[in-house]
């Protein structure tokens, strides 16, 4: 009897502990740079994310070299000349979710992600809008569209290609998170 009680308490503790964390290993990130001269876009599907449902803190991280472009040469230049991804291999956004969201209750919630965006080794405070959809099965989908400015992160764009790379780059994120 004592043993059973102990086991069920342990099990309960594990359950409630794991229910605090939502995890994604297949976060999709897409960016789009639009100019009259050239459109550039790339995406990745292996971003990782973590949300603490109790404190509403979050962390999202991508490997810069995971971004796949239409043109291999663009991808090489992106990594070698602009993002310097050998030196700065990761992009990171961490912070806290503000606004009403109940991760245990099905529904769609409009929230703000307030945090620090680290790209190209350079921190930048950012607040971005997002929607969080909680399904009946407890699946949590976070979607967001926001703008990144290369200049905000000290990404140098030489005058030769200044007409080909947008000053504001649209980023779309879709992250499906599950209880870990």
């Amino acid at each position: 009897m004592k043993k059973t009680l102990f086991l069920s308490i342990a099990l309960l503790a594990t359950l409630s502990a794991s229910a605090q964390k939502l995890v994604s290993r297949d976060t999709y990130v897409h960016f789009f740079s639009e100019t009259p001269v050239e459109d550039i876009e790339a995406s990745l599907k292996d971003g990782v994310g973590l949300i603490n449902t109790e404190t509403k803190e979050f962390v999202f991280q991508v490997n810069i070299q995971s971004f796949t472009f239409e043109k291999a040469l663009m991808q090489e230049h992106f990594n070698e000349n602009y993002m310097e991804s050998t030196k700065y291999p990761k992009g990171l956004f961490k912070g806290k979710i503000t606004g009403d969201v109940a991760f245990s209750k099905a529904g769609t919630y409009t929230v703000k992600l307030v945090g620090t965006m680290n790209i190209h080794g350079k921190d930048r405070p950012m607040t971005i809008p997002a929607t969080i959809t909680v399904s009946k099965e407890g699946l949590v989908v976070l979607e967001s569209t926001f703008i990144i400015k290369p200049t905000d992160h000290d990404v140098e764009i030489p005058s030769l290609v200044v007409t080909k790379i947008a000053k504001e780059i649209e980023v779309k994120v879709k992250s499906t998170l599950r209880a870990n």
């Binding site: 290993r25 994310g49 109790e54 991280q61 239409e70 291999a72 040469l73 090489e76 080909k164």
Partner: protein
């Protein structure tokens, strides 16, 4: 439990994040050639590459009259395609001796860093078969195969750091026909090459072929240049004592001598075309 700090969250993320993938050295060289010498670089999978090469007249041949050789140019063009990331093949035509060639490059190892075993170098095998189509002037009957020569190179390169890359390549050129009995049909050498990045888009380059059993009255080819990258193109400008661009000729049959001023201004322009794009949306 509610006192979860963000740094803990970050540590937890590291725990769930897949282990850092192997980082492969990329852009060891800007071009698939260093100058005359092939580099370990291949166009990406699904990408075709067009290269135009020019070698102008000698700088010591009536330089003002010929505008430093610009009035007399040799030209090469080639197209190649990579069906997969480790294989590239193509064909070209060089105006020197009106030479046609077919070539292939196969990459075997990639320099990498990260978990597990890492190769310290990128290696590739390069081979080229040429057909010279100018008429024979010796009055003898010839087989078609007399026109052919074959080049084999084992390319070994290392990106030492972001700026400096070095390459060494044992080289064999087999000539089906040689001019004199003293000449060997199999001519050997060791090709050396390197690049040093000056800025993100500009690099100094050099290549040299040290020949083991050279033919008389020919010289080791030495080229020095700069690579300039402008988005879709790579421009390679250089000075070289080798005017021919077909491999057996620039490697083993270079009459020009740097010390006598037999120097040729030249350039290669590279343009890539994506035939098959990866899933990028």
């Amino acid at each position: 439990m509610s006192a979860w700090a963000q740094d803990d969250l970050l540590a937890e993320l590291d725990a769930i994040a897949p282990p850092a993938p192997k980082a492969y050295a990329f852009a060891t060289f800007k071009g698939t050639r260093i100058i005359n010498q092939q580099s370990v670089e291949l166009p990406a999978a699904g990408v075709g590459q067009f290269v135009i090469g020019h070698r102008f007249g000698a700088l010591n041949d009536k330089p003002l009259y010929n505008l430093f050789g610009l009035d007399v140019a040799q030209i090469r063009f080639e197209y190649s395609y990579s069906p997969v990331k480790w294989l590239n093949f193509g064909a070209g035509r060089s105006s020197g001796s009106k030479t046609y060639d077919g070539f292939a490059k196969v990459r075997f190892t990639r320099q990498s860093s990260g978990p597990g075993f890492n190769w310290p170098v990128t290696t590739a095998y390069y081979t080229n078969a040429t057909i010279v189509t100018t008429p024979f002037a010796d009055g003898f009957d010839h087989f078609f195969t007399d026109r052919m020569a074959y080049t084999h190179q084992w390319l070994v390169a290392r990106k030492m750091n972001e700026a400096l890359s070095l390459q060494v390549a044992p080289t064999l050129v087999h000539f089906n026909l040689v001019q004199t009995p003293a000449e060997s049909n199999d001519q050997w050498g060791v090709a050396l090459g390197g690049r040093y990045k000056l800025t993100q888009r500009m690099a100094l380059t050099a290549d040299y072929l040290l020949r083991i059993n050279p033919v008389d009255q020919t010289h080791n080819p030495l080229s020095i240049g700069i690579d300039i990258e402008t988005g879709g193109h790579v421009f390679q400008f250089h000075l070289t004592n080798a005017r021919s661009m077909a491999d057996p000729q620039w490697m083993m049959q270079t009459p020009g001598d740097w010390t006598k001023g037999d120097i040729f201004l030249g350039f290669n322009i590279t343009r890539v075309f994506t035939h098959k794009a990866p899933d990028f949306r």
